[in-house]
């Protein structure tokens, strides 16, 4: 199942989708699958699995530390497919957030095939703009996968249109000019950016970077189609391996996003 169906289902219930980011392979391969499943059980609609990469240009220190740990424990591409399979079995849509070199290296077509076979929904590509994405777009279309590109507060109108036209699933709106990391308040520019991106043709726009509480999620759900949360969940996972804190936080955010807060 793709992201669009999940978002539409959440909206039909009067809220927005809750999209949870967790790094694949952190704290280890199986524990990352277990954490993602716990988050789905706590109400997440879409799981965004981060593929650990040596040069994570857009990640803040928390995610960098987590993905670095995954790599130092020997995380490999083949481990990703097993995690995707387990998480997809819950019925959640599974998107992989990845810097593009590992996919380029694996081969766009081969990756799309193996990922689809594992039950994956699509890719979020923080360092791949549509201008450079032809080989990925072709492979994704061949295997019926989501293609999720980003817009930023600095994106000019013609770029909002290019990204909106190139996405399938949703458009990822980076709410602030900065790297990932929980912030106490979400930039006002997020609201404008969502409206501008819609005005340039996007059907579904989800907001990420900096969200950490159910209250913030509820606020974003008022104007966006989905709320993306990463660093705050990873912190909860890091501090409490029993997953109790992760479940509690995910439930709180899910309630906020779904309009049940």
């Amino acid at each position: 199942m793709g992201a669009a169906e999940k978002i539409d289902a959440a909206k039909a219930k009067g809220g927005a989708a809750f999209i949870a980011y967790l790094p694949a392979g952190y704290p280890d391969v199986q524990a990352s699958a277990d954490a993602a499943i716990a988050v789905v059980e706590s109400g997440a609609d879409i799981i965004e699995l981060g593929f650990p990469y040596s040069d994570p240009g857009m990640d803040g220190s928390l995610i960098q530390a987590a993905t670095h740990e995954a790599l130092s424990k020997g995380f490999k591409m083949k481990d990703l497919f097993g995690i995707v399979e387990q998480v997809a079995a819950t019925g959640a849509a599974v998107e992989v957030m990845t810097y593009i070199n590992p996919i380029f290296r694996y081969g766009f077509d081969a990756f799309a095939r193996d990922f689809k076979n594992a039950g994956g929904a699509g890719l979020i590509t923080p360092d791949l703009i549509p201008d450079e994405a032809d080989p990925w777009i072709e492979a994704a279309d061949r295997y019926d996968l989501d293609k999720i590109f980003l817009v930023a507060p600095s994106s000019r109108p013609e770029r909002l249109k290019l990204v909106a036209d190139s996405c399938r699933g949703f458009v990822y709106a980076a709410s602030t000019m900065g790297v990932t990391g929980a912030r106490s308040s979400v930039d006002n520019r997020a609201r404008e950016l969502v409206a501008d991106t819609r005005a340039h043709g996007a059907e579904r726009v989800c907001v990420g970077l900096g969200v950490s509480t159910g209250e913030q999620a509820a606020e974003i759900a008022e104007y966006a189609d989905g709320v993306i949360v990463g660093s705050a969940l990873i912190e909860a996972l890091r501090d409490d391996p029993s997953l109790a804190r992760l479940r509690a936080l995910a439930s709180d955010i899910a309630a906020g996003a779904h309009g049940e807060g």
């Binding site: 990469y53 040596s54 040069d55 994570p56 240009g57 857009m58 803040g60 960098q64 670095h68 790599l71 490999k76 591409m77 593009i100 070199n101 590992p102 996919i103 380029f104 290296r105 694996y106 923080p126 360092d127 791949l128 703009i129 201008d131 450079e132 590109f149 980003l150 817009v151 930023a152 507060p153 600095s154 994106s155 000019r156 013609e158 770029r159 290019l162 990204v163 980076a174 602030t176 000019m177 900065g178 790297v179």
Partner: protein, 400 residues
């Protein structure tokens, strides 16, 4: 408006977060306008004359050439530039570009510290705020340059990520740029990274080859047979090579850091042995594992210790116009010592890689004329060299 950056064959591009695209577009557009603006050209030329000390001279080195099979060896003396290397050529241009874009602060990455020193210098000269990102390992091995940057008024940020070297400093600088792009320009130090940096840096460094080509013609009456330069990211090499690309009889050779030897796996020679991949915004040759994770590079020279290379070099290699060969740490240090002793010129260890190339190529081609880009001077490397040669700071001889 330039949506798709220029490619060099299949290499190059802009594999970079959308958040930076507007800034990169502004840089491209700003540079296209500025580089044809007569007032800018005059200002840069004036700075080159009165601040950097251009044109840099060429020096024929007959005693060193005895170690190069007797081939005629001519050095382009970028080591005589203010701040000690070719990096200042690029930085002055990008600093003027920063001012014309209305930005008040610059950031930069640095490996050996030469680009950081050059950037801190230009920032002081033009009254810009300046922050330099540097890997923790490089901060240790290039302490002298760290002190220079701080004396020049720059903030130096130690990067403790990954291999703690240049690659990680670049990651951190890009991350910072996203958050501060309204006021801040990123002055990139080499001919790598996303468009427009490879072309921008080449445009600013081509003065090296343009001058050298004329100077060698005036000295010898003909073009050199070989033109050599070391390749880290590739800025001094592309600056030199650009002037000779159309001269079919001139053989161009880039010398990569072979570290402890290609077979050891501890090197920084992505063209010689890397694969095509994407790093720091460009498709190019890289050192990477089967999953596309960047491998750590190694070189005795901090300025060559980088797992990627500029995309134009990847292209020039792919089409066979430029040859790229590895030189080991040991070969470079031998050339370093020889140039010092035979000619009284202590080169940067980076540049010593190109000199080691001249020793090999000259030995095989004793009748050749070889032009070598001496990209920098060795002041910053004295400690490394002293450790390598076991010179502990004591005198050669004592008298009572």
């Amino acid at each position: 408006m330039n949506l798709t950056g220029p490619y060099f064959g299949e290499f190059g591009g802009r594999y970079i977060p959308e958040a930076l695209i507007a800034a990169l577009d502004d840089l491209s557009d700003g540079w296209e306008k500025l580089k044809i603006d007569p007032a800018f050209k005059e200002e840069l030329a004036e700075l080159n004359r009165t601040y950097t000390g251009r044109p840099s001279i060429i020096t024929e080195v007959p005693r060193f050439s005895q170690h190069c099979g007797g081939a005629r060896v001519i050095l382009k003396r970028e080591d005589l530039n203010h701040t000690g290397s070719h990096k200042i050529n690029n930085v002055l241009g990008q600093a003027l570009l920063t001012r014309s874009l209305g930005k008040t602060r610059v950031i930069a990455e640095t490996g050996a510290g030469q680009h950081g020193v050059a950037t801190a210098t230009a920032a002081a000269l033009l009254g810009l705020e300046c922050t330099i990102y540097m890997g923790a390992a490089d901060i240790r091995r290039q302490a002298l340059n760290v002190a220079r940057m701080r004396l020049l008024g720059a903030e130096v940020v130690s990067v403790n990520q990954g291999s703690n070297t240049l690659k990680d400093a670049i990651n951190e600088a890009f991350r910072e740029w996203v958050a501060t792009v309204d006021t801040t320009n990123y002055i990139f130090g080499t001919a790598a990274g996303p468009h427009p940096f490879p072309a921008l840096v080449r445009d600013l460094q081509r003065i090296i080859g343009d001058e050298a080509r004329e100077q060698v013609l005036a000295l010898t009456g003909s073009l050199p047979d070989w033109v050599l330069a070391c390749v880290g990211g590739g800025s001094n090499a592309i600056g030199m090579f650009t002037a000779f690309l159309d001269d079919e009889d001139v053989r161009l050779v880039g010398l990569e850091a072979g570290g402890e030897g290609i077979e050891s796996g501890r090197h920084a020679a992505p063209i010689s042995v890397g694969d095509v991949g994407i790093l720091h915004g460009a498709k190019t040759y890289l050192l990477q594992d089967e999953d596309g994770q960047t491998l750590e590079s190694h070189s005795i020279s901090a300025g060559l210790d980088y797992p990627g290379v500029g995309p134009e070099h990847a292209h020039l290699s792919a089409i066979g116009r430029v040859e790229y060969r590895p030189v080991t740490d040991a070969e470079a240090m031998e050339a370093f010592a020889l140039l010092s002793r035979t000619e009284g010129i202590i080169p940067a260890i980076e540049s010593a890689h190109a000199l080691a190339g001249a020793m090999k190529i000259g030995t095989a081609n004793p009748d050749a004329t070889i032009l070598v880009n001496l990209s920098g001077r060795g002041d910053k490397d004295v400690e490394t060299a002293a450790a390598w040669f076991g010179l502990d700071g004591s005198a050669t001889r004592e008298v009572f």
